[in-house]
Every structure is written in structure tokens, then in C-alpha cells.
């Protein structure tokens, strides 16, 4: 029994405050419902806690971390160390472990903060294509979604009208057009890329990012400092903290419980949930917050974990898990890059290449009608990185190895600075039976909550897709007159390609939606088949993980689920 319980019974208790939880809180409070949000991390003040605009030399440790963490494998993947980025978390969290089955590698990024990973994510905003919802119809390798593009399109619209998305219409089937603000122009290396792509008949179009290029919904336009990953102090891009949670708090209808680690969703023994037990991390007390409905959006794997840990005589396998599908079908993104050195950029007159944090152009999948001629079934898009980036810890480490030391080192760095382009493929991985999470029977976290054990295996489809990426990127770089740079090798695949599951934080699936109650956990409105007042509103419900970054689809699904939930409540069905 919890040590205390909330006096108020909220209309909806929401677990998580990222893209999913933020959307649910925003939509439901706007409809007049009273909500509670539980977030495992702290509430922050963007102005005080965001490190946007900081320089490395503002810190005596220059971004290496006070204890030189960046030099010893800490600090995340950014190279800038955790001092600067608005990650508020990482793959490793003190006291909150996860384990890996033999032979499994998986990076599980968790941001413990109000806003979750939306505070630092890339802001890529790509809609799923019509065919992305119906993969079974195309190749029979994974199930169709129970919804179609037409079902979700109005909610992509709503999301874009709220967040603002810079981009431009291109009329490409793999990349449906949305509601766009005028995009910023391409940088020099991106113009060269567009030229090379044109010769290869590959589309390369203005990127689509949840960044506003003009004043929008009362927020000032982007000021092009290139630091989205550090959190945006002017709220000129989307994060759920500033765009959804703060406005919801201002409505007076949202109660935020931060530092609240959800342990268990409780039921009434009659197939309905009645609240959530959480650990208050500040006092280590166990508390109950009561609600008429519960929306879980802790991040795909956390959502699976919470359901699996919510066992009762009514739900002995975990909440809403009669199908046994909770934790199954975990998928993520195939992440493979090739870099090239472009001699034509040596000595180029310097200019500010920061712009948006991400590339100003990108390459949507272009071979969706040719899978019969390819040896892999699903597509990928290509992101581009380059320019005179802000020097940080590790930016020029390789020059020590190549140039030795002395004046020649400085001259080489000066000559080659800004001459590298990186093409990063982001491909669809196909869910398989070997990739899932389960509760590790031997491990609990600092709060006494059983933790996850990961199982993950790539299939030949992903290796073949990555090899296609490699060939394509080399072709593009050479077309640009570039020299292909060495890439990570030593992977188990014959080609030496290295694919690290979870490396770009797009883990989705694990509690998928579907019409078939034996094969899925929730319906097309994210409502649990077995529990009418339980909704899952994050990436957990994804049936497949198309070559689109998940955030806008999480927003749209959560919005649609919220509309449905509010309507069902109004009708008295919940």
C-alpha cells in the first residue's frame, strides 16, 4: 500500500512529459480536463538550465566535464560533453540500470527531465508516407498498422500548426508534404550535395524541422545559433516543456509531479485502472495518484516496463498483457554514416554555417517503387552534416595522430576545417521475434523497481540496407569530388559494417497497436484492448519504424488518442 494518496481524482493521469505525455497534457487540459503528469526527472527553468549560447571557454573544463568525463566515455554521443546539451540523462543513469541478454548490444537513452528527449532531439519532422502504415501489403514482413495515413494526416496538421515546421513541399510520395514555414537556404556543401544528387537522380530537398523561421504562436523566430541540442531559450523550436507543458500548467488544469518514478498502474479488479503508484525520488516515499483514466508515455521501453511491472491477480502477466505482446517487437533505426573530405572547400571564405542545428537539406527515400530490384525491403533517408562547426572537445583529436605536433598540425587544421561532409542513413529496421524487452528477474533499480533486460538482433534486411547506404554515400561523395574517409569497421557482418542498436535513440514498438487482440496490446486509438481507460501514448505503440524520425508521429498519435479519450469520457464510456 502506498504511504499516501492524492486527494484529487484527476480525469487523466499521464506518465511521462516528452513528445507523447506533453501532447496529451496539452490537448486534454485545453479541452477542460484536469490532468496530472508524472515525470521521473526534475522541472527545469529553460533560461537557467539550458546551455544554449555557451562557449566551451565559459567553463574551465571546456566541455570535457568537471571530472573529465568526456575523455573516459561519458558525455553522450555529441562530442560536446554533457555540460552543454540539454540531455538531462544518457544511456547510463546512476541507480537506474538495464541489462543485456547474451550477445545483445543496445543503447537505451533516457532523459529524466520535464520535456524528456524533446529538449535536445534533432527536430527532424518527417511524416510517415501512406505506404509506411501498410508494410504487410507491400512485403509481408511485418503487420500493417490499424490506421492509415488519412487517419493520422489531420493530426500531423494539428501538430505542425502547434509546433511550426520549416520546410517546403516537394510532392514526393515517401515524404508527404505538410504545413511548412519558409526554410532557410542551403549551405555551400549542401548546394554541392544537391548538384551531385541531381546527377544521380536522387532527390535532395529543403529539410523539414520543427523550427520556426518566422514569429509563430507568440514565439520569436529562430536566430540560427545552431544549438538546438542545448535547448532553445527562445522556444523557437519544438520541445514539449515550453510548447505544451508550460501552457498546460498555465491553464490551471495540470498538476505536475516531477521527480516521480512510476512503479505500477493500479486496477480495481474489474478491468479498469484507478491510478498510479510512484516513488517520490526526493523523499523515497511511495505515493498514489488517482485518476479516471491513465495515459502512459514514459518512452517505449519504459512504458513496456511499467505494464510488465503492473501485475495483479487480474493481470498476472502484466497490465493489459493477456496477449503476451507487451515488450515484444522492439525495433529501432538503422544508423550508418560515411564521411567525405571535399578539397574544393579548402580555403573557402569563412561564413556562419551554424544555421539550424541540423542540415538545411535532406534526402528522402527515393526508391520506394524499386524494392523488387533491391535486396532489402524497406527504405532509408539521408541526413547531412558539415560546415564550420563550433570547435569542441575532440573536434581535432585526429590531427594529433595524423600530423604529430607543431606548426604543421595547426596548418592542417586550418586548411581542413569545415571541409568534411557526413552522410547519415536512417533506415527502417523490421521488427523480429528476437528483439524484445522483458523484466530482468535479478535486478531492481535504486527505487526497488524491477528493470528491463534487452534482447536485440538485426536481420539480414538491415545489413543489406546498410550496405546499400554505404555504396550510395560513396557514390555521392565521389560525385562531389570528395575523398571518402575511413569509417567504423569491425562489425560482425561480412562487410565490416557496424550497426549499434539504439544509437540514434529511435527505439519504438514493444507494445504495439493492432486490430487483432491476440497480436497487439492497444487499438488504433492507443486504447488498451483489455482496459478501456488505459491509453499508451508514446512510441511503444508503433507497429513498424519507418525511415522517419518518430517524434512528429508520436505527437500525432498522442493527439488523436487524446481526442478519442476526451470524447469517450464525454459520452460516459470511460
Amino acid at each position: 500500500m502506498p504511504q499516501s494518496s492524492s486527494a484529487e481524482i484527476y480525469d487523466v493521469v499521464i506518465i511521462g512529459s516528452g513528445a507523447g505525455g506533453g501532447t496529451v497534457a496539452h490537448v486534454l487540459t485545453a479541452k477542460g480536463l484536469r490532468c496530472a503528469v508524472l515525470e521521473a526527472g526534475p522541472m527545469i527553468d529553460p533560461r537557467r538550465d539550458f546551455k544554449e549560447h555557451k562557449w566551451p571557454y565559459d567553463y574551465p573544463h571546456r566541455g570535457a566535464g568537471p571530472g573529465a568525463e568526456s575523455y573516459f566515455g561519458g558525455g553522450g554521443s555529441s562530442g560536446q560533453g554533457f555540460t552543454f546539451n540539454a540531455n538531462f540523462g544518457g544511456n547510463e543513469l546512476d541507480g537506474e540500470p538495464y541489462t543485456l541478454a547474451d550477445g545483445t548490444q543496445f543503447l537505451w537513452w533516457r532523459s529524466r527531465v520535464v520535456g524528456g528527449r524533446t529538449l535536445h532531439y534533432a527536430r527532424n519532422s518527417y511524416r510517415y508516407a501512406d505506404y509506411d502504415f501498410k508494410p504487410y501489403d507491400r512485403d509481408g514482413l511485418s503487420p500493417n498498422w490499424p490506421i492509415s495515413y488519412e487517419d493520422l494526416a489531420p493530426y500531423y496538421d494539428k501538430t505542425e500548426r502547434l509546433t511550426g515546421v520549416a520546410g517546403s513541399s516537394a510532392g514526393i510520395r515517401s515524404a508527404p508534404d505538410g504545413i511548412f514555414l519558409e526554410p532557410a537556404p542551403p549551405k555551400v556543401h549542401e548546394l554541392l550535395l544537391q548538384k551531385a544528387c541531381a546527377k544521380l537522380s536522387i532527390p535532395c530537398i529543403p529539410n523539414r524541422l520543427a523550427i520556426i523561421t518566422k514569429p509563430f504562436n507568440g514565439r520569436p523566430a529562430c536566430h540560427y545559433c545552431g544549438q538546438c541540442a542545448r535547448g532553445c531559450g527562445t522556444a523557437s523550436n519544438y520541445d514539449s516543456l515550453q510548447i505544451q507543458i508550460i501552457p498546460a500548467l498555465r491553464s490551471g488544469r495540470l498538476k505536475l509531479f516531477d521527480m516521480a518514478m512510476a512503479r505500477e498502474v493500479v486496477t480495481n479488479g474489474q478491468g479498469r485502472v484507478t491510478g498510479v503508484i510512484y516513488i517520490d525520488k526526493r523523499t523515497r516515499q511511495e505515493k498514489l495518484v488517482r485518476g479516471r483514466a491513465v495515459a502512459v508515455a514514459g518512452g517505449a521501453c519504459e512504458t513496456a516496463r511499467l505494464l510488465l511491472n503492473s501485475k495483479s491477480s487480474e493481470f498476472p502477466n502484466g497490465l493489459a498483457n493477456g496477449s503476451g505482446m507487451v515488450g515484444r517487437n522492439l525495433t529501432n533505426t538503422v544508423d550508418f554514416s560515411v564521411s567525405g573530405y571535399l578539397p574544393c572547400l579548402e580555403g573557402m571564405p569563412r561564413y556562419n554555417t551554424d544555421g539550424y542545428a541540423q542540415g538545411h537539406v535532406y534526402i528522402p527515400w527515393w526508391l520506394w517503387e524499386r524494392h523488387d530490384k533491391l535486396d532489402f525491403p524497406r527504405g532509408y533517408h539521408i541526413e547531412v552534416f558539415g560546415g564550420f562547426g563550433m570547435p569542441g572537445i575532440g573536434s581535432f583529436t585526429s590531427y594529433g595522430a595524423q600530423q604529430g605536433f607543431g606548426k604543421r598540425l595547426k596548418e592542417a587544421v586550418r586548411r581542413e576545417y569545415g571541409c568534411t561532409i557526413r552522410l547519415a542513413g536512417r533506415g527502417e529496421a523490421i521488427p523480429n521475434d528476437n528483439s524484445y524487452v522483458e523484466i530482468d528477474p535479478h535486478v531492481v533499480d535504486r527505487w526497488g523497481i524491477p528493470t528491463l533486460r534487452f534482447h536485440y538482433k538485426w536481420s539480414d534486411y538491415e545489413w543489406k540496407q546498410a550496405r546499400h547506404m554505404e555504396r550510395t554515400f560513396i557514390q555521392i561523395i565521389e560525385q562531389m569530388g570528395g575523398r571518402v574517409l575511413p569509417r567504423r569497421t569491425g562489425g560482425p557482418d561480412a562487410s565490416g559494417i557496424v550497426l549499434i542498436p539504439g544509437s540514434v535513440q529511435h527505439e519504438v514498438g514493444a507494445v504495439r497497436m493492432g486490430d487483432d487482440k491476440r497480436m497487439s496490446v492497444v487499438n488504433g486509438f492507443c486504447q488498451a484492448h483489455e482496459v478501456k481507460n488505459l491509453f499508451l501514448c508514446d512510441g511503444a505503440v508503433f507497429v513498424s519504424n519507418a525511415d522517419k524520425n518518430p517524434t512528429p508521429t508520436i505527437n500525432a498519435l498522442a493527439w488523436r488518442a487524446s481526442d478519442y479519450l476526451a470524447e469517450e469520457m464525454r459520452k460516459g464510456n470511460i
Partner: protein, 221 residues
């Protein structure tokens, strides 16, 4: 690019104003945003000489000399020492025991090696001898990288293989990496590279001059 305007507000007031505007979701004047950018730089002050937290005088001198040799001053910019590398290395090593051992152990090794070669410590050796010693480490690094696993055959059979240089290579890699980082993350290093970002601008544009320069030299000319 909009120039910095300080206006009638003190910086503290400006920061407060921007913070309030953000929470209130109001539009923020661009000049204010730019002012916040530069705030951090201007608040920084350098007062007095740095007192090493970990290294003794000899160790600090050795680190300083190494940093100067790795990134020396040239006609464009100052050295890693001018950019604060010794303070940076000392500070990090004082907060990380592993790094402290790498540094003090490495200094001990390099002094032993210098005594073997020149009968002096590293810092006491003449400049050309210091450089020759480091060149030896660089060569050893290149050889070990090229030889893969298994027993290492010296490329040059005449080279003196009596001393195993690996500990020195490891140490030099560490100091080199940190000296390079300290230099390029400093205002001196940023200026050397001509980095122009991390600033607020009202509209993003790419100069035609840069486009023309790159295209003329590209396969698309």
C-alpha cells in the same frame, strides 16, 4: 548579423528580461538574444596567476612545455599555453584520479627517457632535443599503428629498441589530445579557425562569394 547593443539595461537586467519573456512566451528582441550570447564571454575574468591544483612546479613546467611544443605560436595565433592548456590539464587531472596517474606517471616516464638520452629531465633538455624526443614517440606511434597485432618488428632494424616506448606514446597521445582541445576551444583557437557561429542573426544567408569559390573548384564548375 546584428551588432551587439547594450542599450540602457545592465546585463543582469537583460538576462532577467529574456528569462521572463521566455516563460511568458513573448517575442524577444533580437538584440537581447545576442546580448545573452555575449554575456557569458564578458562575465569571464582572468585574475592573477594560476596556481596548479595537482601538479608540482616541475610537473607543471613539463606539461606547459609539452603543450607549447604540440600547439606552438605561429604567425596566425598564439600557442596552447596562451590558450590555457596547462590550467585545463591540471584542473581535469585534479578531478580525475585516472587522468592524474596518466599525467604524473607520464611525466615520470618522459623524464626517465630524457635522462637516458640526454642525462637531463625533459624540460631541462635543449629545445631541439625535446623535439627529437617527441618525434621518436610519434614515429613509434606510427609504427605500432601499422603493425597490427602480434610481435612488433621494428621497421628500421637499426633503431634502438632497448626501451619500450609504448608508455610514452600513450602519455603523449593524452597530452596532445588535451592540448589540442584546450587550444581550439579557446577564443584564440576559435579566432585562428575563423569560427563565426554561436551568434544570433535575424535571417540566415550564405554569402555568394563562398558559393562561387567552392563551385569553381568543384567538379560542377
Amino acid at each position: 548579423m546584428i551588432p551587439v547593443q547594450i542599450g540602457d539595461f545592465s546585463r543582469r537586467e537583460l538576462l532577467k528580461r529574456v528569462a521572463m519573456a521566455v516563460v511568458a512566451m513573448e517575442a524577444i528582441p533580437l538584440a537581447d538574444a545576442q546580448e545573452v550570447h555575449s554575456h557569458a564571454i564578458q562575465e569571464k575574468s582572468r585574475t592573477g596567476a594560476y596556481k596548479p591544483k595537482l601538479f608540482n612546479k616541475h610537473e607543471y613546467e613539463t606539461i606547459t612545455r609539452l603543450a607549447e611544443l604540440i600547439v606552438p605560436a605561429d604567425q596566425v595565433s598564439g600557442s596552447a599555453v596562451d590558450a590555457g592548456a596547462p590550467e585545463f590539464i591540471d584542473l581535469l587531472a585534479s578531478h580525475n584520479e585516472k587522468l592524474a596517474d596518466i599525467c604524473t606517471g607520464g611525466i615520470g616516464w618522459i623524464d626517465t627517457f630524457a635522462r637516458t638520452l640526454y642525462q637531463t629531465t625533459f624540460v631541462e633538455a635543449r629545445a631541439e632535443r625535446q623535439i627529437a624526443l617527441l618525434e621518436q614517440l610519434v614515429r613509434a606511434r606510427t609504427q605500432s599503428e601499422g603493425s597490427g597485432s602480434g610481435p612488433r618488428e621494428p621497421r628500421n632494424p637499426g633503431a634502438r629498441e632497448a626501451i619500450n616506448l609504448s608508455p610514452g606514446v600513450t602519455f603523449f597521445n593524452w597530452i596532445s589530445r588535451m592540448a589540442i582541445d584546450a587550444f581550439y576551444t579557446s577564443p584564440i583557437g576559435m579566432k585562428d579557425l575563423g569560427y563565426m557561429g554561436n551568434s544570433a542573426t535575424s535571417a540566415y544567408s550564405v554569402p555568394q562569394e563562398s558559393i562561387d569559390y567552392a563551385f569553381k573548384r568543384s567538379p560542377f564548375s
